[in-house]
């Protein structure tokens, strides 16, 4: 808001500056010239060459300052040729109306000239003077518009021609004085002749009509005819014996002559324009088409960098294709799409489009694959209503990097085949379109990638928060855990629970699937188990209950493998149940054995079978028993030849370092896994849980 006000302030300050620096001095000049002229004419009314000349000089000054002001006022605006022509129409009409109006005014007072001269001399001469001034302003405006028209679409410096014309116009006007007072009409004639020649030359500078559309050209034809008539009327009024003409002549012969010449210029200029436009009319359509093509390509090349929405892009392409190729319908098919469904169809139904496609891409109609192909499709949709009856179709491949991504197809109803122009247009256009399509695709995939990465970031963060932040410290149990997330978040989960009666519960689980969905199920699983362990410390029971609760969350295709175990420090026992998870490794007496009690994965079945197959496993703990639990991220870690790391290797490492603390064993395992899978990406989470039973430690010390 504040900024806006500031901007406004700045703007107004700017305007003020322009006013004080440029417009005000000009207005002052204009006003000074008006007043000076008026006073001069009041004081020196004698009709001599000198006084008329000075008077005309002052008129010239008024004319000049009026041009300066108008030029300043118009300089910020951009005019199309048509608006200029229209303003000229308006101006010359006003001019004529003024003449007529003043004629009436003059006739009214002219009858009582004596009376009016005596009583209202100053009033009437003031009114007359104001009319004269208005005529000057209008003339300067007309002159300015001519100047703008002249400079339209001019690339070379053609200023000289126009300045020369102006000079000769002024000279010829002044020469009228010599003609009147000295009878030297040849000077006036010479200057006039020069001026007319220059007018003719300048009237050739009308290249701007080429850039008009056909509709505008038609309008222009009408307008220039109208202008020729209007200028003609003006000339006849100037030369007539009407009151206004007399008054003007009385006011300034030169001005009247200047006005005459300007009207002559108008007639010459618009006659040229009329004829040229007439000749341009037949080619106008071709020009329009080229122009449409160029603008379409411009729009499309802008689109290439803008479009985020594939549908929008498709719509624009088909829209423009119809314009560029003079077609009635257009659509796109993409090669990714096996059904070849039309994308962004314009003015055509799927059924008809399909029929035309089958003709275009039939083996008979070679070479549809690599270049533009045409086909007469009139037969194939004969029975369609008139609305959907197309006679000719053309298809252009959308190529990028020598690969065809799809086709742009256009169809038309007229029984005239596509011509070379259409073909070229379609070719150019499809090149642009294919870049746009390719860009949109790339953009889409990079957005998709970014979205996925962000999703994975969220999933990883979730996982980090779900996993325990620290491992419990137990006198008789060494515990170690390792967790290495995969880039795609594999859904591994482990946790520890302090249970009543001096027990420690633990869980290790692997949710099938990856990313955010796996992280979500993990979070659910943790919630379920956390609430279950409050009232229950039986591994089998916990897994059975988890299975029935998780059904709501788990999709048909997903499952969880898990081991739930409980260390009983009182009875020195381990109880556990396994739901489809990898084996539990137990090192006892220097050998690793696999503990594999029966049980199917969570989510594999929700019937009573789950309970039936789930076994309970209990073991009396012995000093230095080492338990290793892992997820398949460990055993299925791959080397370059896609070999698995395997359980055997894992067992060997445990056996080799059995005397070490579990942290060291864990480190050794991880070092081996990463050495093994060096050079291949880790595609699943890796989780390791290690326990070592150290109950007799205290007894030994004691």
């Amino acid at each position: 808001m504040k900024q806006k006000i500031n901007e406004l302030m700045n703007l107004s300050v700017n305007k003020m500056e322009v006013w004080s620096k440029i417009v005000r001095p000009r207005t002052q000049l204009f006003l000074a010239a008006i007043v000076g002229l008026f006073l001069y004419r009041m004081l020196f009314s004698a009709a001599t060459l000198l006084s008329s000349f000075v008077s005309d000089l002052l008129i010239l000054l008024v004319f000049y300052s009026s041009i300066l002001i108008l030029n300043r006022l118009l300089s910020n605006k951009h005019f199309s040729p048509m608006t200029l022509v229209k303003s000229l129409l308006f101006l010359s009409m006003t001019n004529i109306l003024l003449y007529k109006f003043f004629d009436g005014f003059h006739a009214l007072f002219g009858n009582n000239q004596i009376e009016f001269l005596t009583s209202n001399a100053i009033f009437v001469s003031l009114i007359t003077y104001i009319f004269d001034l208005i005529i000057i302003v209008i003339l300067s405006y007309i002159f300015l518009v001519f100047r703008l028209l002249f400079f339209l679409k001019q690339r070379k410096n053609v200023k000289t021609y126009f300045t020369a014309l102006l000079v000769f116009l002024v000279l010829a006007s002044f020469a009228t004085l010599l003609d009147k007072y000295n009878g030297w009409d040849f000077i006036k004639m010479a200057f006039t002749a020069n001026a007319v020649i220059l007018m003719t030359i300048n009237s050739f500078k009308i290249s701007w009509i080429a850039f008009l559309s056909k509709k505008e050209k038609k309008q222009l034809l009408l307008f220039s005819f109208g202008l020729i008539v209007l200028f003609g009327i003006s000339i006849s009024l100037i030369n007539s014996e009407s009151g206004m003409a007399k008054v003007l002549n009385n006011f300034s012969l030169s001005l009247n002559y200047f006005s005459l010449l300007l009207n002559v210029y108008g007639i010459i200029y618009f006659s040229f324009l009329f004829v040229t436009t007439l000749f341009h009319l037949p080619t106008a359509e071709a020009f329009d088409r080229k122009a449409a093509e160029v603008t379409s390509l411009q729009v499309l090349s802008r689109l290439i960098n803008q479009v985020l929405d594939f549908k929008e892009l498709g719509d624009t392409i088909t829209d423009l294709a119809i314009k560029v190729c003079n077609a009635d319908a257009a659509w796109i098919i993409l090669n990714d799409d096996e059904t070849k469904t039309p994308v962004a169809p314009k003015n055509i139904g799927f059924v008809t489009a399909d029929k035309i496609q089958s003709v275009l891409f039939s083996p008979k109609n070679k070479p549809a694959a690599n270049e533009i192909s045409f086909a007469n499709v009139a037969v194939c949709n004969e029975q369609e209503t008139k609305n959907e009856h197309f006679c000719f179709a053309a298809s252009a491949p959308l190529k990028s990097h020598n690969k065809i991504n799809g086709y742009l197809i256009v169809a038309k109803k007229a029984e005239v085949p596509f011509d070379d122009e259409d073909k070229n247009a379609l070719e150019t256009f499809s090149d642009y379109a294919s870049i746009a399509v390719e860009n949109a695709k790339l953009l889409k995939s990079s957005i998709e990638k970014e979205r996925l990465e962000r999703e994975l970031d969220v999933a990883r963060e979730m996982q980090q928060k779900i996993l325990p932040q620290s491992i419990p410290q137990k006198k008789h149990l060494e515990i170690s855990s390792v967790f290495v997330p995969a880039f795609e978040v594999g859904g591994d989960y482990y946790d520890f629970f302090e249970l009543p009666g001096n027990k420690l519960g633990f869980v290790i689980a692997d949710v099938s699937g990856k990313g955010i969905s796996a992280a979500f199920i993990m979070a659910e699983l943790r919630g379920i188990i956390e609430s279950l362990v409050i009232t229950c410390s039986n591994p089998k029971e916990i897994l059975i209950k988890t299975n029935s609760i998780i059904e709501r969350t788990l999709g048909k295709k997903n499952f969880i493998t898990a081991v739930f175990g409980v260390f009983d420090f009182e009875l020195e026992k381990l109880h556990l149940s396994r739901a489809g998870h990898s084996s539990i490794l137990l090192l006892r007496e220097a050998k690793v054995e696999e503990i594999l009690p029966g049980g199917v994965g969570l989510g594999l079945t929700y019937s009573e079978k789950f309970e039936t197959f789930l076994e309970e496993y209990s073991l009396q703990l012995k000093e230095n028993d080492i338990f290793v639990l892992y997820t398949d991220g460990v055993t299925e870690a791959k080397d370059e030849n896609l070999n698995d790391f395997g359980v055997l290797t894992l067992k060997k490492i445990i056996e080799e370092f059995q005397a070490e603390p579990v942290d060291t064993i864990a480190k050794k395992i991880m070092t081996n896994v990463s050495l093994f899978s060096r050079g291949t990406p880790q595609h699943d989470d890796i989780t390791l849980l290690l326990f070592k039973w150290k109950n007799n430690l205290e007894k030994q010390h004691g």
Partner: protein, 115 residues
């Protein structure tokens, strides 16, 4: 990327899908399409031949879970056959043999349907 393909055969009213290559999250859709294709044709007796399958991931296992119920409620089944040991191990760990019928050869699986 690892290759995967399926091949469909018929033996009487039993439909046999042969798996070839690596079945993982990326290729699972392929198998899913093949099986749902059979369902749309009201063919519910399916034997999956694993002989040429080198690897299966959890996403691959999920495909069978997704369809087994439909098959069984329509008095059909998905029977698995001729697995390589490493592939069988994965099924075995998860407890699949307890819920699915797994046969050493395709012939035995087909026979079971015809009994």
């Amino acid at each position: 990327m690892a290759e995967f393909s399926t091949n469909h055969r018929e033996a009487g009213e039993v439909n046999i899908i042969e798996l070839n290559g690596y079945l993982d999250a990326h290729t699972a859709q392929n198998l899913e399409n093949a099986i749902s294709d059979l369902i749309t044709k009201n063919k519910f007796k399916v034997v999956v031949n694993f002989e040429k399958l080198k690897y299966i991931s959890s996403a691959g296992l999920g495909v069978f879970m997704a369809f087994i119920e439909t098959m069984r409620t329509n008095s059909g089944d998905i029977k698995l056959a001729a697995m390589q040991p490493n592939v069988y191990n994965i099924f075995d760990l998860l407890g699949f043999p307890l819920l699915y019928e797994i046969f050493p050869t395709e012939l035995e699986a087909v026979k079971k349907f015809n009994q």
